[in-house]
Amino acid sequence: MTAVLARQVAEAERPAARVLLADADNDRRRELAGLLDRLYQVRAVADGEAVLHEVRTSPPDLVILDLRLPGRDGVDLVKALRDAEATHLLPLILLSARADEDAALQGLDAGADDYLVTPFSEGALLTRVRARLTTARLRKQSARRVAEVSKELESFSYAISHDLRTPLRAIDGFSRTLQAAYGGDLDDQGRRYLERIRAGTQRMAELIDGLVGLSRITRATLKRERIDLGTLARRVLSGLVASEPERKVEQAVANDLVAQGDARLVVALLESLLGNAWKFSAKQPQARIEVTSEPRDGDLVFLVRDNGVGFAMDYAKKLFEPFQRLHSPSEFPGTGIGLASAHRIVTRHGGRIWAQAAPGQGATFYFTLGEPT
């Protein structure tokens, strides 16, 4: 069966859509109902209260609403339908007289999808009804698909976090026991192999944690609030100082770095960027980390700058991909998840992130957090 034919068959087999027609004019209601009845399951009512009753008791797929219904202002009715959870996305076509076109426009503002000014042709009505039904169906399909995908992602991430850790724990636990109980029977080489096995499992565990963290960022609900990046950055930096108190790092965090963002996610973003700045400036005798902002193209751009080892811009494209690393683990440890997380956090905010660096000249990471601050 060709795709086109398959689609036509599917079209034919789909149960007829339910259309609710609300029109106070008896003649026109009968006429329109007759016209629509050839293609759809039609219910026709003559007043506003009946509309609200119908959408509750037998939910339609589309409503055609004459703006002049007795008992209820048409625009109010549109608002009422849009405010209710169940009819929030219900396709809504308004009918209005030429003299009432202003009301129709108000109806569009209130959330109606389309309107027709009387008199209109059969074709004008049927085309609009068909188009609105198709849009609604596609919207439903993609919402369903998004729900499916996010559910798949959730179980996938659960499997990673739970099921992959268990065998890893066995490898680490039993090689540790082997080391403790039978280490004496092994020569140096044998004991080194055991060390390598354990180091490998630890690395794998870190990667799993990183991946789980990454998928958590994707799934987290974004709660935008007023945050001060300066305060958050200072907090993250003091954590880094506490982890290596012997290091001397000059910190320059600007005041008044106010933004709208999800505090938890932005802290994770700063942990990634400042953690990198901290790590890659470790070999610098006079390490310096700067956090500041500057306006650019109408956006407020935040900067995290260090004077560490930097990197060649040839590799900048790969920076934000998971598991991509520009340094060997012996040079600088890491999983290659940090900047991927940073990228995802910024993207979830509707912002952008990019970097500027040169080998031996430090690195600067720039990001925006979407909506104007």
């Binding site: 739970h162 099921d163 065998p167 066995a170 636990g173 540790r176």
Partner: protein, 148 residues
């Protein structure tokens, strides 16, 4: 303090069960560890029924270490059954699992778990966790009065 009181380990994975027992031994926790493989058997044991019929049900473990993903009856269902039972509603239950997912943590506390501990992948950390768990639940923790 009761060195004879059983630590009940409900764990379906043989490797994890053996590692947990080893970790307790290494941490010098002397209490016997009884390992059961799934939720149904755990409830049979605690309610003294099925193949554990005739056991003295008032002889309670010091603590139950409960995995969440178990065959037949899951950890949360076990918790729910225990909390609904007059004789076991105060029984100390520690959820011991690989997962750190928010939904698991939330569900465990919602079902009145006494504690939630993630099994570390690193065996040395696992031994540390076992030592702290063992000392806390067999020595430090004071149980509810008899006849509860």
């Amino acid at each position: 303090m009761n060195r004879d009181q059983v630590i009940l380990l409900v764990e379906d994975n043989d490797d994890d069960a053996e590692l947990t027992v080893m970790a307790f031994r290494e941490a010098k926790i002397a209490n016997p560890v009884l390992r059961l493989e799934d939720g149904v058997e755990a409830l049979d044991y605690l309610f003294a029924r099925g193949k554990h019929a005739g056991r003295d049900a008032s002889d309670k473990p010091a603590v139950v270490l409960l995995d969440l993903n178990l065959p037949r009856l899951g950890g949360l269902d076990v918790l729910e059954a225990l909390r609904a039972d007059e004789q076991n509603k105060h029984l100390p239950v520690v959820v011991l699992t690989s997962s750190t997912e928010d939904k698991d943590r939330l569900a465990a506390y919602r079902h009145h778990a006494n504690s939630y501990v993630q099994k570390p992948v690193d065996y040395d950390q696992f031994v540390t966790a076992a030592r702290q768990l063992g000392l806390y639940w067999t020595v430090l923790n004071v149980r509810p009065p008899d006849g509860w």
